[in-house]
Each structure stands twice: as structure tokens, then as C-alpha cells.
Symmetry: C2
DNA sequence: AATGCTATATATAAGAG
DNA sequence: TCTCTTATATATAGCAT
């Protein structure tokens, strides 16, 4: 009977924690389902347990919502909720955007099944090959990016001179 | 005061619907936050409104959870919740699997910032180039996949055709 | 581990400001 | 559009099965 107020704290006992975790996860998923039904919107709830198991509910499907989200989300949310409607359109600086257009199109292409073939059962060598290829492409793209960025800076760079060096900290 | 039982139906009035939508979305996000705090697990709630606006809350961040999920999720969820722990390992036909290991690794790489540089401001030509490259790689991988699949079929094909309809309707 | 029960905690629909 | 209130709907902690 909810004997005491539920602390917003970590439950100590392992087994109890797991039980409660499951209960609450289901509740969250149910709430998401009702939410979707009520408003006919796309939503997804993803959870990763301590053991690393991934659970998810989504309408019309987790992947669908994922696609939509990745397509619309220009910024990342670091634990804080955030609206993502308009465009961010900042100046063309050197810092990396969380999800650029190119990245989004790639993700979109992948997510939308343009690969058309199940390749999940490939050997690992193929996978490594693929990654190497992508890394190569990335290098090309990066080189081109710097080139373009450099020339753009020459004509449109406002006054705030210095500070940020153009090759410093990107994402991880 | 919740005059009547809340129908699990679509609300008619547009303005009211939006208000209620916002309220419930916040509630869902709060519940997710408490959920994360209580169990110290990773979770994310993503919603896309009718207008196409994307909202999201996640701990430690939406992207983090996304990465984890994509890394752990072998199958897609079509509106029905589903546990995602084991492997799916289906036959390698010509139809697309929702998200394969390779795809996931690609997505993961992209999401985790291994591209390290902002390339969103590139010209469109670069983008087309990149896509062409990826398509090429895909062809290679596909060819290899069929090769492997063919040889594997020779020795281990059981025969139960139907079961899960993994060759009918795919995504988009 | 999963399900049912029930007292209590939380969420929230409708108003009001 | 947001916040507050308040009556009511839902979720759920602890327990039993």
C-alpha cells in the first residue's frame, strides 16, 4: 500500500529493485501507449536496464519514431528536456553539430531500409571493411569541409576574432 | 476535475487537444525522469507532435540512450512492446531487415561523434558523393552477404517457411 | 518471476486567474 | 499560453499467491 512516500532514490535491495523496475517500466510503456492513442502522435519510450537489456515501446514503431526524431532533432538533450521545433542555424563555426544534415541523411537512408538487404549475418571482416571505407569517406568529407570553411571565413567572418581555434574540441 | 472517465480516444477540439497533449507529455517526461533516478538506468522518451515537432527527455541524454538502444536492439517494435536481449538471426533473403548489426554500428559511429567534425555545412555535391560511396559499399556488402548466405543455406536450411513474416511488408 | 489486492501516491481534466 | 486548484482517474509499493 505504498507504506511510505516513495523516495526519489535508488532502491537498495537488488531483487526488489528489479521487480519495481519492471512494474514501472510497464507503467511507463502503458502511459506512452495511451498517450499515443489519445493524441494520435508518434512517441517512443526506450529503457536500458542495468543488465544492459533494451526495452522499448513505440507507436507506430520504435524505429519510426526514431527516424522522425533523428530527422527533427538538431541538438542533443543532456538530461534536460528540450523543445526541438525550429532550426538552430548558427554561424558556421568549427565546432561539431551533434547531428548534421549529412549525418541525418545517412541515418535516414540506413533507417529507411535503402540498404534493402539483410546483412546482419555477415562475417566480422566485412564489417571492418565497411568501417574502413566509411572512415576513408569521412576523411575526404572532412578535408572538403575544412576547405570550404576556410574560404568562407575569408569573406564572411565577423569581428569576434580569436578565441576559439578552429581545430580544437569536437565531440569525443 | 476529470468530469468523466478519460476515453482512450482522440480529443476533438484542437486547442484543448494541444493543451492536454502538453500536459501529458510533461507528465510522461517527469515520470521518465523519476524512473531514471530511482533505478539509475538509461531511458528516453521521444514524442513527435502533430505539427512534427520533436520533444525528448533522456538520461543521461537522449543520444546516449539512443546509442545504447540501437546497439542492443536487433528487431523493430511495431507498436507492440518487446524485449530485446537475444539475437534474431533470420535467414538472409533479399528483403531488408529493420536494423542490422552493421547498420547499427554505422549509426552508432555516426551518433557517437566518430566523424568528429561538423560537416553539415557542406555543399550538396559532397552529400551526393557520400551517398554514392555508401551505395557502392552497400553493393559490395550485399554481394558478400549473398555469397555467404548461399553457402550457409546449403548445409543448414531447415525449411519452415512462414513463421514471422520477414519478407513481406517492410519499412517504407 | 508473474499476478492480484488495496491503500496510498501521482497524474491530470476542467476551471479560474 | 502558463499556473494554480481540486476532484477524480491512474499508477504503484508492499504484501499475498
Amino acid at each position: 500500500m505504498v507504506r511510505r512516500r516513495i523516495e526519489i532514490e535508488l532502491i537498495e535491495d537488488k531483487p526488489k529493485r528489479h521487480t519495481t523496475f519492471t512494474k514501472r517500466r510497464k507503467g511507463l510503456e502503458k502511459k506512452t501507449r495511451v498517450f499515443c492513442n489519445k493524441f494520435d502522435v508518434e512517441a517512443a519510450i526506450l529503457t536500458v536496464s542495468e543488465a544492459g537489456n533494451a526495452f522499448g515501446y513505440g507507436h507506430p514503431s520504435v524505429d519510426m519514431v526514431l527516424d522522425r526524431y533523428l530527422d527533427r532533432a538538431p541538438e542533443e538533450n543532456n538530461g534536460v528536456e528540450e523543445r526541438l521545433d525550429g532550426e538552430v542555424e548558427d554561424e558556421v563555426e568549427e565546432a561539431a553539430a551533434p547531428l548534421t544534415e549529412v549525418e541525418k541523411r545517412i541515418v535516414d537512408g540506413i533507417e529507411n531500409g535503402k540498404w534493402e538487404v539483410a546483412i546482419g549475418d555477415l562475417g566480422l571482416e566485412e564489417l571492418g571493411e565497411l568501417e574502413a571505407e566509411m572512415r576513408k569517406i569521412k576523411s575526404n568529407v572532412v578535408a572538403r569541409a575544412r576547405e570550404i570553411a576556410a574560404s568562407e571565413k575569408n569573406v564572411s567572418d565577423g569581428g569576434s576574432s580569436a578565441g576559439n581555434s578552429s581545430s580544437g574540441s569536437f565531440r569525443s
